[in-house]
Symmetry: C2
Subunit: 375 residues, 2 copies
Amino acid sequence: MSKFGFTLSATDGKARRGVVTTAHGDFDTPAFMPVGTAATVKAMLPGSVAGTGAQIILGNTYHLMLRPGAERIEKLGGLHKFMNWPGPILTDSGGFQVMSLSELRKMNENGVTFRSHLDGTMVELTPERSMEIQNMLDADITMAFDECTPFPATEDEAATSMRLSMRWAERSRQAFKERPGYGLFGIVQGGVFESLREESAKALTNTGFDGYAIGGLAVGEGQDEMFRVLGLTTPMLPDDRPRYLMGVGKPDDIVGAVLRGVDMFDCVLPTRSGRTGQAFTRRGPLNLRNARHADDPRPLDEDCACPACGGHSRAYLHHLVKSGEILAAMLLTWHNLHYYQDLMRGLRAAIGEGRLEAFTTGFAAAQDAGDIEEL
Amino acid sequence: MSKFGFTLSATDGKARRGVVTTAHGDFDTPAFMPVGTAATVKAMLPGSVAGTGAQIILGNTYHLMLRPGAERIEKLGGLHKFMNWPGPILTDSGGFQVMSLSELRKMNENGVTFRSHLDGTMVELTPERSMEIQNMLDADITMAFDECTPFPATEDEAATSMRLSMRWAERSRQAFKERPGYGLFGIVQGGVFESLREESAKALTNTGFDGYAIGGLAVGEGQDEMFRVLGLTTPMLPDDRPRYLMGVGKPDDIVGAVLRGVDMFDCVLPTRSGRTGQAFTRRGPLNLRNARHADDPRPLDEDCACPACGGHSRAYLHHLVKSGEILAAMLLTWHNLHYYQDLMRGLRAAIGEGRLEAFTTGFAAAQDAGDIEEL
């Protein structure tokens, strides 16, 4: 089994093109990871997810530990086999979703205790337990257990939160079971404060991780502020490890983050939007609920090779959305994931050929050109 | 364009194997038609429906006339193009669903007036309007407009209802636009009364239709009574036209009806069951909600070639069902449709090879053998 690793093949400004090698295969960066929360990328067959060009997906520790349970998934051969996805999987640590989704949570130095929303039992999640769960899931990329610093936070609050996360990162590193092809990522916190980001990045790089995530962004600070913090933070991270911006984002968020040196992304936007009648296209987003699509014989995007655009009109998709049909979610999710992977393919090719500036200019112009609707 | 027609290729007892030729291609009989109510076989891409072996699907006039509207579908190129299904389509007349689904309906000699559940407008459906709508939808097989006689009904009630349907059938025949490759089916009514079925069959065959449906069954009379009425009715129908048993049914209903000379079927059971966690298999039905599947690594059916059975365990399907995931509906619908088409393939092959009795004995023994659960 090959070693977990990252190979840079090209740079264009701060943007990077590369390949990450894992126990379950390689993936090209910049990469967008579809979110497979409960062991399914919602409304997609796993083969269809791969067909869009996605090479790695994300699973959520919080959901999977509660249902069907990490022990059960391990007994059934791991998450890859359980959900029929043979490629690389990254799992989050559970920390973010415990704080955003669970009730009656109590946090202390040791970890977080919370009440399961499924059966009411009290559950404890610690750095050690998070590593154990992600190991049972057989995640190719394990995320260190951390607290996502709330926004807004004062500098003192952000510092206290970040330092707890750094102690938890150290415990995660100690508890992580090393295996060839499996990697552990640390998560830089520190809110919007440069000195705290610096302190966090130093703590993590001193310990040493296989990749570095940038956490605590896309939580309400706005795109300008996110780009500012990203611009500060990526230079603090080693060049020879992948960089992952968690929970991002809209297409233009991704383009801006790639320009600032980010390699990996995940976001529920393309899948969730697909279930609410919204489509991303080269010419901006479309809301298929809108009555103006009712008689429109055109596909969502003439240049898209996805099954939704092959043979289905906007009029038909409008009808499916209005009728609450499952096929609406299926086709729009498929299209959105395909569009996101087209974007990543375009970014990778542009970086490889040293024409990223022209690509991003063309991207922005096309997005502004027409069909724009507010989502 | 070829003429609409039916070619018998083999018989085994009263069972028949044949081919129906339509404007949009041929289909083999005995045939099961998946139901595509609102211009979608729920939770399936059209290519996947075809992949199960289905060669013809059913569309519902009642749903489509209300949303998106027959005029709109015609303007967009017809139902085949609208829903991206290039093969044959049969549409029902709307009569049955007006009576079972709509509110404030009033029936008289001319037709039925009802209130749309979508926008509250009053809508009239007559034999002439039903023919016009099915023509706009571009249905390969149009069904005569009729009243499905309620069950139970006295002989007088059944006679009155059947005679109205026969007058409507005559008006349907007059209003139907003849085009090469397009056919019109009459519907035999008469409840459970032999003399009424006889009177109905005679009225229809005197007028002359391209196929004959048997209506008013599977409405609560039970399988034994259904088989008795079928056994009486199919001999009243011409050998050289296809026979269609509407709204049937469970796998053993279909086997029994094929034994009694029926060629075509439609039913929501495989698709609807797929959305409620239920699977049909060679060894009987399974309810995937049942906790006994939670750790079961086996596929639904080891002998099934569908995508649900290729790579997904019962444990995984149980998890998806319990989690309310769309993928549960997708995989179970796919499996159920595949199972139904496997059954039809098996029936056709057995008839062709003169071994239908052995096939039906084996079918019944396997259904009883194991895994049986009450649905």
